[in-house]
Assembly symmetry: C2
Homo-oligomer: 469 residues x 2
């Protein structure tokens, strides 16, 4: 088995290298300068072509499953030892104590820049304000005299939050997952995040966790982190539901443990933004929004739909200008090559196109944005008006940034307190209650040929009548 996994790991490393190579190659590519020319402008497409126009890249991790399963299996069998071995292999980190110590946390709290601390506190406050209003309190409904039914929100007992590491620490995601988990009242909240080669966690992640009240933090990333939270190890507890973003290996691992019965927040695909614009929209604002989506990764999905050709032209110019000064311009440029700027005849088409695409993020900057917002039925999170960039929701306005991608916005919303609770139904029926609905149950059970279901009522009705005597 071991040689096999070595081969697969090698395969994995070669892939990573290739991706890096592609990015570096593109860095050297002079064409980046005139990127806007490579963005695809589509004017007045025929409705028959929409489907093709809005098609997303196929999201399929099955190719990764053999390697990912092997890692998961190792973690399941060998626990901490496997986790430590993969830490060394994939993150070059030799970790003796997987759990982040109190000392490490105290040290991190010192080292975060004051202004960043303040910013994280502003975000935390807004996210808390928005998510605290999502608390569900069921009321008792007497559906028939003597028949009392209610729903009760009960937190998921044990949840796991995965926070990717690497050069850019996603401390904002600590807030977005940790705050609703805390508000929901989850008893045990476990956070896993990959260590640096020096065996450290980025202090901003530790600060955000501390501020949110999360104390159980483990130094483990990637597939091995998902495995540890799914199966548990000597040190890391298993959880019932795993949340958080990650690369395609992490996504594949979440898919696989989900098939074994561990709940996950969502199957995540590349991030997406769509912008709806008209002749009144500000091209430089739009360009900045498209670019902020594009910098996420080469596979980011960027879409502009406009009733104005002029605005599209303006956006093309502005993208060129703004892209030039971006540190991640090569990544953004790759994403923009797959972007679509679509000119349509009227707002009805715009609305219909958006509803059939179901973007993760939707920015509406038409004059009548409020009216259009009322007609949107498929989107993850909607940003209204010229002063509402997606960045606001990504960080600090208070809404959640963990949102459905890949068209899943047709059926589900983003992470909220709901994601950390379940609504359990309760009912209590009195003698009078069973007297009132007993005959209906008997009749229906009989017709469904479930006699024992009927008997469970008949035996009680008999008792009620006895008591009446």
């Amino acid at each position: 088995m071991f040689p096999n996994i070595l081969i697969q790991t090698l395969n994995f490393i070669v892939r990573l290298y290739l991706v890096n190579f592609l990015i570096c190659d593109s860095m050297a590519n002079k064409q980046v300068k005139n990127l806007a020319n490579s963005m695809e402008v589509v004017k007045y497409p025929d409705q028959a072509d929409w489907r093709n126009l809005l098609r997303r890249p196929l999201l399929d991790h099955t190719e990764l499953y053999p390697l990912v399963s092997r890692i998961l299996e190792q973690v399941q069998m060998n626990g901490d030892n496997a986790v430590k071995q993969f830490n060394l292999e994939f993150d070059k980190a030799e970790i003796e104590n997987l759990r982040v110590s109190q000392d490490e946390i105290s040290e991190a709290l010192q080292s975060v820049d004051h202004s960043l601390k303040k910013a994280i506190e502003v975000a935390k406050q807004n996210i808390e304000r928005f998510h605290s209003q999502q608390k569900f309190t069921g009321k008792v409904i007497e559906t028939t005299p003597g028949v009392r039914c209610w729903q009760k929100a009960i937190p998921v007992e044990k949840v796991g939050l995965y926070i990717p590491g690497g050069s850019a620490p996603l401390f904002s995601t600590v807030l977005m997952l940790g705050i609703p988990a805390k508000l929901a009242g989850c008893r045990r909240i476990v956070l896993c995040t990959p260590p640096s080669a020096e065996g450290k966690i980025h202090p901003a992640i530790l600060y955000a966790a501390h501020l949110t009240g999360i104390e159980e933090i483990y130094k483990v990333g990637g597939v091995q982190a998902i495995g540890a939270m799914a199966y548990g190890t000597e040190t890391i507890p298993s959880v019932y539901k795993i949340f958080g973003p990650g690369n395609q290996y992490v996504s594949a691992a979440k898919e696989l443990v989900n098939r074994e019965g561990i709940a996950i927040d969502m199957v995540a695909g590349p991030s997406e933004v769509a912008v709806m614009a008209d002749e009144t929209s500000n091209p430089s604002f739009i360009a900045s929004d498209l670019l902020s989506q594009a910098e996420h990764g080469p596979d980011s999905q960027v879409l502009l739909i406009s009733t104005s050709e002029k605005v599209v032209e303006g956006v093309l110019d502005e993208v060129d200008k703004q892209l030039e000064v971006l540190p991640r311009k090569e990544i953004a440029a790759m994403a923009l090559r797959n972007s679509k700027l679509v000119v349509v005849n009227n707002q009805d088409q715009m609305v219909e196109m958006i509803n059939s695409y179901a973007p993760e993020h939707l920015i509406i900057v038409t004059k009548n944005y409020q009216e259009l917002a009322g007609r949107i039925v498929n989107a993850g999170s909607v940003f209204l008006g010229k002063y509402t960039p997606e960045s606001a929701g990504d960080y600090a306005s208070g809404t959640n940034h963990t949102l459905p991608t890949n068209g899943h916005a047709k059926v589900t919303g983003g992470v909220s307190q709901d994601s950390f609770i379940k609504k359990v139904t309760f009912q209590e029926i009195s003698e009078y209650g069973i007297f009132n609905i007993g005959a209906a149950i008997e009749s229906m059970a009989e017709a469904e040929q479930l006699q024992a279901h009927r008997n469970a009522v008949s035996i009680r009705l008999k008792d009620v009548f006895e008591n009446l005597k």
Copy 2:
């Protein structure tokens, strides 16, 4: 390809035959008479053995995937023709018009017995009363002056309801899925259910659908129904989310289309009940509840946890008596052979055991059932007190009977209006709002090395300052 699918179909038929054979064989088995002796009583188990004691049968449909995928593929490729061919193969029904006509519905409405109609109406009224209270209305939260955020419930546009057929028509499930779908406001609700060999749908199903306001009903069952609703055919529209119970082939089909991005209500396993009892509990009521669960199928899960040995003995006696007269006694007997009657030392153990098992249905009939109910954290639906049989929730009290099995109650509740909507977040930020939170976003984006995210705010802040001049 065709010979291959024929072989697989043959395989499928042989399996069905074997299952029937097992059941018939058991019918001839005289041991059924003294069934209670074969129920497993476990007294005061060591906590270390709980895990094993509460272990469910492994739920794994992967063996069925090759056959099920083949059928799904055929439906995807050949649409109506494939559906009709499978109708003929599996249901022996030659169906020309897949959609149930208005005439057929009118005819069915005539043929349903008056008292059954009345019963269905009682159930409908209670289910509607309970589920209508689940309507979500988000309020606007001003998280920071000028930053307005809200959630809006938007119905899933197109949903599909699968209702199994066969000898016992599950018209109650039409109410349980159709009523919340209607209340949520789903624009298109499609119902698929297998026809009889005569090409008919059971009139009670059509009556329940009519009462619920569901008009789009198709005569197709099994894997082919799931395929039709997932991919669409010439006649049957594709939907975004598929609901409903079914046999293991239907479950496998739902799992497979789910992997392709079609949402499903839940991965369903065998139905389960657990009863918590003490010395005050009524053994004959308990026996009736255990039996009503057991009659669902040979794989039903039945669990009694009691602090009183005497009550367990009473239940054993009562099961013997009540089983004798059941039409489905052979099925119930098979399920009871896997049942567990557990005697524990105290109520703390009882609560802990239930929370670690997470039953689909939980009946609490101890003296202090209200107190214990407050300590339950993992269960699908909870029934309180002696006059509250599970049958009530299965049919007519108002709560939903589509509930999480196989331990999923740890993370999710049953079907509700929530299952048919998604909560979409909206936000609108004013000049003053972006002025208030802009700096925090800039600082966080910078720290996450996402400069374009920062720019999208900076460019707007600049504009705000210009306007101030």
